[in-house]
Symmetry: C2
Subunit: 461 residues, 2 copies
Amino acid sequence: MKNTQAYILQHKNRFLEELLDMLRIPSISADPAYKGDVARTAEFVAEKLRSAGADLVEVFPTAGHPIVYGEKLIDPAKPTVLVYGHYDVQPADPLDLWTSGPFEPVIKKTELHPDGAIYARGSCDDKGQVYMHIKAFEAMLAAAELPCNVKFMIEGEEEVGSVNLGSFLKEHRARLDCDVILISDTSIIDNQTPSITVGLRGLSYVEVEVTAANRDLHSGVYGGAVANPINILSKMIASMQDENNHITIPGFYDNVLVVNSAERKAMNEAPFNEKHYMDDLGIASVHGEAGYTTLERTSIRPTLDVNGIWGGYIGEGAKTVLPSKAFAKISMRLVPNQDPDQITDLFSRHFKAIAPPSVRVEVRAHHGGLPVVTPTDTPEYQAAAKAMEQAFGKAPIPQRGGGSIPIVALFESILGVKSVLMGFGLDSDNIHSPNEHYGLFNFYKGIETIPYFYQYYAELK
Amino acid sequence: MKNTQAYILQHKNRFLEELLDMLRIPSISADPAYKGDVARTAEFVAEKLRSAGADLVEVFPTAGHPIVYGEKLIDPAKPTVLVYGHYDVQPADPLDLWTSGPFEPVIKKTELHPDGAIYARGSCDDKGQVYMHIKAFEAMLAAAELPCNVKFMIEGEEEVGSVNLGSFLKEHRARLDCDVILISDTSIIDNQTPSITVGLRGLSYVEVEVTAANRDLHSGVYGGAVANPINILSKMIASMQDENNHITIPGFYDNVLVVNSAERKAMNEAPFNEKHYMDDLGIASVHGEAGYTTLERTSIRPTLDVNGIWGGYIGEGAKTVLPSKAFAKISMRLVPNQDPDQITDLFSRHFKAIAPPSVRVEVRAHHGGLPVVTPTDTPEYQAAAKAMEQAFGKAPIPQRGGGSIPIVALFESILGVKSVLMGFGLDSDNIHSPNEHYGLFNFYKGIETIPYFYQYYAELK
């Protein structure tokens, strides 16, 4: 990969400029107002795949946002790597907390990123990490060192649950035939401590609506005699976690796989400084399920978090209203072997069961995803580990992540193929938050590592 | 009052048209964006007082919104009535629930208002009721039948706690000298059952802020290990009412005056049909403090209602954010002898005491007001009762109201004068809600009743 690495060094400034162009397009998949921008981003990705040298590049429409496909098949005898990623991004609000525009990328130096980091929504999750793959591919082709067949499938609905990807996989099953799926949408422990994600939590995401009276009321005239949907919703949410922060939904833990004490011990030996963690977040205390450490709470244990709540008067000043309705968005991160559909159903039944007769409640399911654990004794894991060791000068640590990439379970069930989660972000990169950023070190380290993965994978497979 | 009543009949259409003009000005005192409209409304009131024949009409600026004053002193030997009211209105949102524009008044017929009702924000609370007084005054003057001295004090901050009225009262104590204060900002039981309000609840209104991490976080990466401020706020709100809907703030009930069983019995004999009440509100069950009836819960018992709550992602779709902050507006209706400042203090100390170490909390006090009970053995109550009996053909029922007019207690402490609460609205008029309205019957019945009050008050005093 000598010529490939030389090519990368020579073109690194252009690679960055191109990524900044992609980051300028606000491809927010959750908000219909950005539909056109999402489509523009798909075209951008297609164009960059074409100019990198991919064949059969096509933007496939779906019932939602499009999926971009491209491939380079060099030899049927060689293994085929399918690169998966997403070009859509999370909503950027609250906008007033960004120190620069979420879609006006700028490079800023930080303590953790002394070489500079790219500040923009999607810089790390996942445009920046997708773009590493396109540029590594371009470099291997230009240097005539591509050792595998490559397929790209870059979608635009990851942040809204990949709702149309399943049917795309089924429809294009033959075209997507491959030996492994390579994904960079996760993080490493720190820039001196590479790691590979070997587990992901699943997700059940619901929206609830509590209705009391048929209209907003005067809190003096009716207050005390008519249910307040906010007070009721608060009570319902509060009751779903006990004093040990165990979730009280009946059956919730039934299928949780117990992690043995040896594995828990190994997990807690990963580099982690709780004081630094708390200082970084500005908190005086961590907060979670009794009997588990922070590293366990964010990987092997399920959660129930309210992601948004609203109801009544939320403007300036005081309004003495007894509101008609209150709403919340609630998500549960799941662990093996919890099933998202079953958990959504358990939640829904429980929420309806605990509602007092003075209100009516509705539960609407958003997207879900299965939890996954990936093995480390596979050629793809070994190839990723060797590639990282070569690029970082240090062997990576296998680590379970707390987030969810529902597509990983889908790939396994529909395509029958395992994924390798070789991401390059940092947990402190503020993905899904204001001031998302991605280190220049991480962007370039990713481009450097990826060709080694292809090299070792071709050797080990 | 024969000529006065004839004048009213002759000019009733013009009276209505003028009121509609006032309702077209969006005088929302809570929202700084409407400051100019609030000022325009004050000028409108001043102009109408002048053209009705008032002397020394003046718009007094305050640190907030202005106070309009005007007077007609006919004879120092006669009693002086001070008319108090407010020209400011509540915010109109949620706008999408209005069937016509909140500031585009229209007349619509309803089951309870077969003659039609004026639909507009402020039509009942309190522009419509203030305007009855200005027109009754005009009629008595035009008919040369005014039997008392009259002073008007119409303020623009009632909906935000009358924050500057106290200092105005102190500064203009001599000018405001009077025998009684007459207020129409309450309701009657129904159009066939007149009533006079003899009690009002007090108010403590606070805004709370709960902060966990210093920024919004990814709910997968951090969820389970870092406090979620919405979950925490829900738990804190939930814990403030027990399973009997008693409020758990230590000391909250210490000064609540126990109402004796005879008074409770009389209170529950007022016309009230709980089935109609529930049908009107579209609820399957009332909801309140154990051991009390609906009529008691809304009059002699204090409350704790969340008037607004917000935090996290509240846009369309799903965002897996672990938010940094959550907020709520919380108000407590108070009864004799609870003190709003003391209750605000108890709330604030309790809220801080129950916050877990994983969050920081802030409590900000909005406005408050003292609860009041007014006696029925006074000339002003008797005058109001006789006036209503003459206009409605039926003696009014004395009734405690659930709302708050903090100014009533202020009048008594600063001016040393009692108020009479002779309002003409209906509880179903949707004040503070979308589709606020005020019956034409009620508007005209008010104009008809007020001159009789002056007549009987001059006789009885």
